[in-house]
Subunit: 354 residues, 4 copies
Amino acid sequence: MYSLGNIMRFHLFGRSHGEHVGCILENVPSGTRISADEMRADMEMRRPKDGIGTPRKEDDTVEIVSGIKNGITDGSPILMFIANRNVDSSKYDVLATTPRPGHADLPAMIKWKGYDVRGGSQFSGRLTAPIVAAGSIAKQILQSMNIKIAAFARSVGIISDADARDINDAVASKMYGTRACSAELDGLMRSEIIKASNEGDSVGGTVECVVTGLPIGFGGIWFDSLDAVLSRAVFGIPAVKGVEFGKGFGLSGMKGSESNDQYCYDSGIRAITNNMGGVVGGMSNGMPVVLRVAFKPTPSISKEQRSVDLSVMKDTVISVKGRHDPCIVPRAVSVVEAVTALVLADVSMIERRI
Amino acid sequence: MYSLGNIMRFHLFGRSHGEHVGCILENVPSGTRISADEMRADMEMRRPKDGIGTPRKEDDTVEIVSGIKNGITDGSPILMFIANRNVDSSKYDVLATTPRPGHADLPAMIKWKGYDVRGGSQFSGRLTAPIVAAGSIAKQILQSMNIKIAAFARSVGIISDADARDINDAVASKMYGTRACSAELDGLMRSEIIKASNEGDSVGGTVECVVTGLPIGFGGIWFDSLDAVLSRAVFGIPAVKGVEFGKGFGLSGMKGSESNDQYCYDSGIRAITNNMGGVVGGMSNGMPVVLRVAFKPTPSISKEQRSVDLSVMKDTVISVKGRHDPCIVPRAVSVVEAVTALVLADVSMIERRI
Amino acid sequence: MYSLGNIMRFHLFGRSHGEHVGCILENVPSGTRISADEMRADMEMRRPKDGIGTPRKEDDTVEIVSGIKNGITDGSPILMFIANRNVDSSKYDVLATTPRPGHADLPAMIKWKGYDVRGGSQFSGRLTAPIVAAGSIAKQILQSMNIKIAAFARSVGIISDADARDINDAVASKMYGTRACSAELDGLMRSEIIKASNEGDSVGGTVECVVTGLPIGFGGIWFDSLDAVLSRAVFGIPAVKGVEFGKGFGLSGMKGSESNDQYCYDSGIRAITNNMGGVVGGMSNGMPVVLRVAFKPTPSISKEQRSVDLSVMKDTVISVKGRHDPCIVPRAVSVVEAVTALVLADVSMIERRI
Amino acid sequence: MYSLGNIMRFHLFGRSHGEHVGCILENVPSGTRISADEMRADMEMRRPKDGIGTPRKEDDTVEIVSGIKNGITDGSPILMFIANRNVDSSKYDVLATTPRPGHADLPAMIKWKGYDVRGGSQFSGRLTAPIVAAGSIAKQILQSMNIKIAAFARSVGIISDADARDINDAVASKMYGTRACSAELDGLMRSEIIKASNEGDSVGGTVECVVTGLPIGFGGIWFDSLDAVLSRAVFGIPAVKGVEFGKGFGLSGMKGSESNDQYCYDSGIRAITNNMGGVVGGMSNGMPVVLRVAFKPTPSISKEQRSVDLSVMKDTVISVKGRHDPCIVPRAVSVVEAVTALVLADVSMIERRI
């Protein structure tokens, strides 16, 4: 349930307001050099940005407990911890019996006796920290095969990036707090977020992820198709409500003569367009894989909302205080990159031998 | 790779132009009554409709080889065959070395030596026949728990159903060849398909699937979230390019105060709206689960398209003859229902005991 | 439940008195040449031998339905059937409500409504036919990596082969109907079987399997140790009641100074003895892997035994007629080889990349 | 690789000389009461006993990091740590390039670059501590279904317990340091261990595990047979070289008329004998499950043994100092109980619904 992967297996654990969160990554080939600096840089990208992120600040130092010695993997499972230091549960008492709209509270309260609502518990976005840490290792493994992964903010609320973007643009988004691809968009998206925040509200958005370097034929078939396994991993991220590849839903309104990516000879066979987002029949066609992910607005808002106090079964209103990101997109960019990397590194291990 | 499920496991096999296609369904509880009539009705829904489907007509009789005796499951794996009778490979010879745009041909040719391009081979939509057969069993199991699944055509090309639809509308779509929810939409969608067909072209569309009766809390967490496992199964269907739940991508442009489904008391707690499509935190919130699936246009079109003859590595043009559905949506409705049922029946077996 | 393997996955189906038994083997690398002659030879080894096997004679022709074309794998799942021709259920009617001692009847009758007791149903040794067919493919894959597998009859009843045996002896056992390693032992074992048969009784025995060519370090760790995954597969064979590696249970009475396989230099490091049966810490130490498997006597005997008629819940006696092998060992040798090969081929696919 | 279970999944991590060892147990039903006292008692059983165990003394306090609050499970993964306090690596320097006979050293050194030989590393018996902790939870879950598990020392070296033993005897073995079933055997086994220890040697033995309360039909089929999944888990324990059920290898020398457990009516159907160890056709027949496990002598002995210094590829001799148990059996009893419990608790979750 908290796991990904067939060969390079990833297991997640922890909760938002416990002592720490963490993960295990099994079967990383021994002797692989893992750069702590790159991992730090990846973790930094996930941290909340001034003005547009939660004031809860964690230093997010990754403690590698075992599996890596002197920067080299030793073949045993890689166990990583990230401490939860900045925990403040004072705001949560009121919520013990009243489920927050848009959250996992209602199903969790009904399903699990003794469910601990504080901080989102085991559903918390806090658990995406170890995902990013493990994803950094996966990205480094893929990098050595010349496979590159980068994502960016395609839209925030009504601000949408209308330009064609490639992996270089995606990499360049690291310069901007919102992970937009340009300074101008960064400004617009930032305003959109601040506006929502000032209104005690939140806003959604989309993340786009680009992968280059996959060889033609990379990926599985049917329920292990590249799009199938990637979408499962991406929908595992909290707040995701949609995933599409290439032109995605746009393809549903097209003719085949428009949508098909025709081929030409160009020192090898090459698709002329990339409407399919690099995946046909579940496998790479050699074009960049492009997937787009819809994030809903952060459900925690201070605006009053209707709910029901389950202890007395009466209508009530609720205003969620706590410390929350008014828009999850700027930080979610790293998480989409990370799960994409975890999936592709695992598939690459299967691919190498079939 | 051809498998779904943790407890009730589904394994698919066969190829388009082999003798038959089929599947195994393991761990269906023994003593379950399976109606052959319902299965026939489900299979009928997947058959091509006059005027808008492929002229390849298979009678699609499901031969239950083992696991069901006198309509009752016996606890052993259910093995089912569906014969391929109406096979005509004559149109495929030209394609042996020239990949069809939009198809799995290119990656498959490069990945697998001796890949048999005829009829889509192991990628063929023909393998969705056993999916529908197994899905019928899963639907019957779920029905006995009062869980209902029905899908319909939300759009075909530019014809889009703008109305709010519930499960009764979805069930009613069985009356119409296109699986539209009304006679009027059926006519419009049919024209859209015929128009494309007359132009030697094809058209895409979207399928919407509705599930009612899931108890609050039904579903897993993180990578086994209900949306995660459903999306993996749905992306396993050929031609799927996008999946979204509830308002899906639309949520990315909203404010939290608009998107959150607030709760009210109504002889129990109930969400007032269903923007989330029935899933929060990976679990059912008691509202109908609503997922929408984007299908690309059928890639096989007789219009000329550019490709490369890999035997001589030269540009060429290709016109795909064969017998193809100009729009896959009317038949795909059944397949979306089927994989949804297979996933939910499996999850229901896990749920019953955690 | 009917499956083995993480990458090269094996799925079994069918029942003793159904139309056929069969299996699916997924993820065999495409372009692998599979010799039909070798498969026939392997199947022949599993057939009952004159005088000491069941009179039920099946020709056991393997029908390869898909996945192999012109002797070459095409990357799609390999589906194989073996018809059940020589089915005679007339002897089974009496058993419908009285469980045969030593059989799966009692638990199966109580667990599964509508359980079909005829011929052992889904528990039948008949399903080992597709195991041997798939095992033949696995052995051919391993052969190309210079990994060899061969087994032989170490004992039948009280006749035990006391000599040291290596893989050449094991291969040579194919000359003898009992799969003993010498003509003398073959004669003794044959007499032991015939004697039991004449008394309306049956007899057990042990099979020993030898594997050479595994590189040092081959295998997993903890619950994926080589011995762990092999023992699971071997215990999956009907009638197996014990598995040991190297000196096995004999080691429990030894001192460490006797049991440890010390190392010497011999154009490389080499163990001087092989008490461990080639496995330390779950991995190959470069010595031949040696595992020994205990088979209980065939439970179906015509001698009268006590049982209970469950329809009236009264004591009764039972004499099992049908057509049964008085000793399963001569035929089980092939099955032990086959599951060993299926496991090792799968592990080899994981190994190649960690 | 470090994992067990399909539904209630167990993941192991850590290494002997790292900061701690630990595990994750997923999918334990929420609201389950877990007694810390029972867990402490189980952990105590695994600790080395005075005079016959290693002088390395760890207090083995289990730190439950998440998943259990106030003694009640909350539905999230249970994460447990056990600190490694008493670490002394000074004795290991000599071993860096010379593999110890009988250990995982040789395959591990060759397979994994940078393998850390100190203390057995990730192969260490130290990792059985979290297995026992998780097994305690599994035992408590099973206890609530009236399923009981207890093991004892059946033999140590040449001292073998010849009596028939049931679960009460097994439970009573907790009174004795060697886990023998009587004071007399305890004395004899203790002497056997001390004698080996005084000679700088070690000794092997067998553990027998008894399970009562499984309903008839409990267990899977073929490769998920009860014996198959139990043997995999048991062979995952370091130093195990053989597993048998009921009369096990003894059955191979019997006649069917002797080995078959015949049935009688006794306010229900009941087997008269238990030669099969409670398992037929992979499922429980209602009799106690009895499995016997062979442990090799501890490979670490101070007696001189031959090995090869891999750094210079020359013959050498080695004497393993460190602090080791001269016989692993007294402590292994708990570990066999624990893996048996982990497997059965997982199977019970599958069983409940098929």
